[in-house]
Subunit: 164 residues, 6 copies
């Protein structure tokens, strides 16, 4: 079996928590695709292109990880790429609730696609992209929670947003 | 990658919920081992041998699933069998809490072993071995929740236990 | 006792999960009123009138179910209609938390009104109006989660929204 | 419709929290049966007969409430009594999880029986029979959590248990 | 040790639940600062100045409680004021999740600052500022959940907002 | 204010998670008492005396921490020692539920005693005394979760228990 899994998300921006999961998935499956969900006017801080670029930069160390983006239903994207496995992270029980509903909804639409959950390292379990954005906006040190290149991009974005 | 995963549990007895997970894991990994945890005087209804026999009977339809038992720490068993992946089921958020603690404890003892979670079909999500045992003990129809051979074994065990 | 209960919600749109609850409540109480909460500029996809019309169409099979709408506090509406019982669905524990707070708040304002909770069929427990709206917007098959007339209305609404 | 509901439990012993629920159910349904589950060697503090007697004494103020006991599956008892509704209390989200599983299990065995949930007054939400037993055993004032007759019975039972 | 704690929040508006916590914290620490988080365009109902004024009025009975406001990261504010303890209220388990993530994030940024949790009186545990705002907007009696001066301010604000 | 807090528990045995909390409490209050709950035939692995001795050894580094034991209700012990504050750890949301009920029960019995919650370092959040006992019994390395002296005592106890 040549196994292929997809780890999808908004990654706005990608954090140490996401990267920890990438490492776990990359050693469990033969190939992994990181798929960035298009914004669809949801008001992400970074554009789809920017998020893809940041993700690409920080996962380049994993030889069996590829980066992609998608617009529309995740299950359609998974099928188009020929994958059968969706990877999700479970940081906490609030994740669980949401993931439970999403998994059952996806399974109803695509019974052949299996969703698999992984737990991040406990010291990354509390990091969320939204709190990282907020910390950066308030002048906090985002570098504690994201790789240096992402921290730089965040600072620049914050400066650009605050300009009059 | 020839992937090998281990799905361990007490299986006292194995239910439709467990079997649903076996099916999901068996199509995601090349090989799957179902490992029955030894009783260790914990007062299981069925002996380790009986549980292994019942499991073996109901999973015989899966060509890539093997049955084993173990006594001691799960992570030691996983390493002995040369596996790197532990499969767990997440039926509900109370599972999640317990699984979260167990996964992090196991990871501390065996950082190279990854734990992977799967969600059963929603109509099996509420079945637990303990409620099946209780229903059988009260004369209810256990066959709604377990395969026929397991239901027969349960009825026989209940009759044997109630004998004066 | 001629019992009258009220099942209120946004119903944007009504799903198989809501309908399952209507059936359970309709057989438990003599009369049931489905009350659609007015939008109040909250940005519902369907207008109050559209939601009432969709609800009315799909619950017409229940002889003892009536459809109404209300604007303002639910407890005021319940009193105006002469009811003493509010019906709520509990799909999952995240519902529970919110329902707990709302019930205690309503009870403080109207101690004579009792709130009663029902659980939907497990295969409907993960359906939410918001995920149905999202699936329809992305071109997915909403008909898996809502009755045909609602699915048609959703498709039409999505087409109307996307027009330039 | 002449509605009949059953509120079953161990009631070891009955607390202010249980009584609050009895009051809510008694005003929502025409008739209510309080059914005490037989001990079945589960090591209750009070015998089935003692628990029935205590329950009978404290619910005598409700004209439409009857007391019964049962041994076996609750759904069988509900059918024998000709009821269609099971009443359950939801004190907290840990209750919810357990209730969710029990309700779905009961529904599988008896699809015609509906389970209905009520929330106790918030100041009773934290009372559990087990903590009341523990407080009495340690010489605390159980009268804060149970009616006077139950508090007396608890004190007497504790004295009897501690005798050499 | 002359202990100083900070209880921060949006307080939009301050409720009986918040006040209960203020009382508990004020008797546990030598000095307590109530710090109102600046709005930062988050669309609070009351301006920062209005919220500070309402808080100041209702906590004036506590001799060791001071009112302040801050803009930016809480941990920076805590350090500026020379405090080492952050007070948080735990109303329910949904709070817990959020608080858990926020506490660990703050701890990563300021390891010397300790977060301490208190539970409000159970009859205030379900009150949230957002539901109070909604009740006031719908013409309900906010005075059940907030002090008289806050209720008056809410009514006035609602009238002002509804003016054409 | 010379503040005195009590951190009570079974400590069967004390873990790195408990010790992390001791450190946090010891720097927040002037004096801290660690109070070991007597066994009362609950089948602890270590006797009350053994647990007190192990706790005393590992907390001797904290100059303002004292060790005690108690038999009976915690609130009675707290009053006898002249304390007003109970310290509790919140490792996860399952703790929260239990703690919520215990805190409200204690508060009803002793309204003048305040319970305060602290969160352990995330890497200790999953350690429980029961899993440590189980790991030791199965020959695992308990030294990953408890101090060396406790690990030695565990090994010795396990050997003594297994003797024929």
């Amino acid at each position: 079996m040549n196994s292929l899994a997809i780890y999808a998300g908004t990654f706005d921006p990608i954090t140490f928590g996401h990267l920890d999961l990438v490492g776990r998935a990359a050693k469990t499956f033969d190939r992994l695709i990181l798929s960035v969900a298009a914004s669809r006017g949801k008001g992400t801080l970074f554009t789809t292109e920017e998020r893809v670029a940041l993700v690409r930069e920080v996962v380049s160390v994993f030889p069996n990880v590829e980066v992609d983006s998608f617009d529309g239903l995740l299950v359609d994207h998974v099928r188009e790429r020929g994958a059968r496995v969706i990877i999700r992270g479970l940081r906490a029980f609030s994740d669980f609730e949401f993931e439970f509903q999403m998994t059952l909804t996806n399974r109803r639409m695509a019974p052949d696609v299996e969703t698999i959950f992984l737990m991040p390292k406990e010291e990354y379990s509390y990091i969320s992209s939204s709190s990282v954005r907020e910390i950066a906006a308030m002048g906090g040190n985002a570098g504690l929670f994201v790789p240096p290149s992402v921290a730089s991009a965040l600072e620049e974005k914050v400066r650009a947003t605050e300009k009059p």
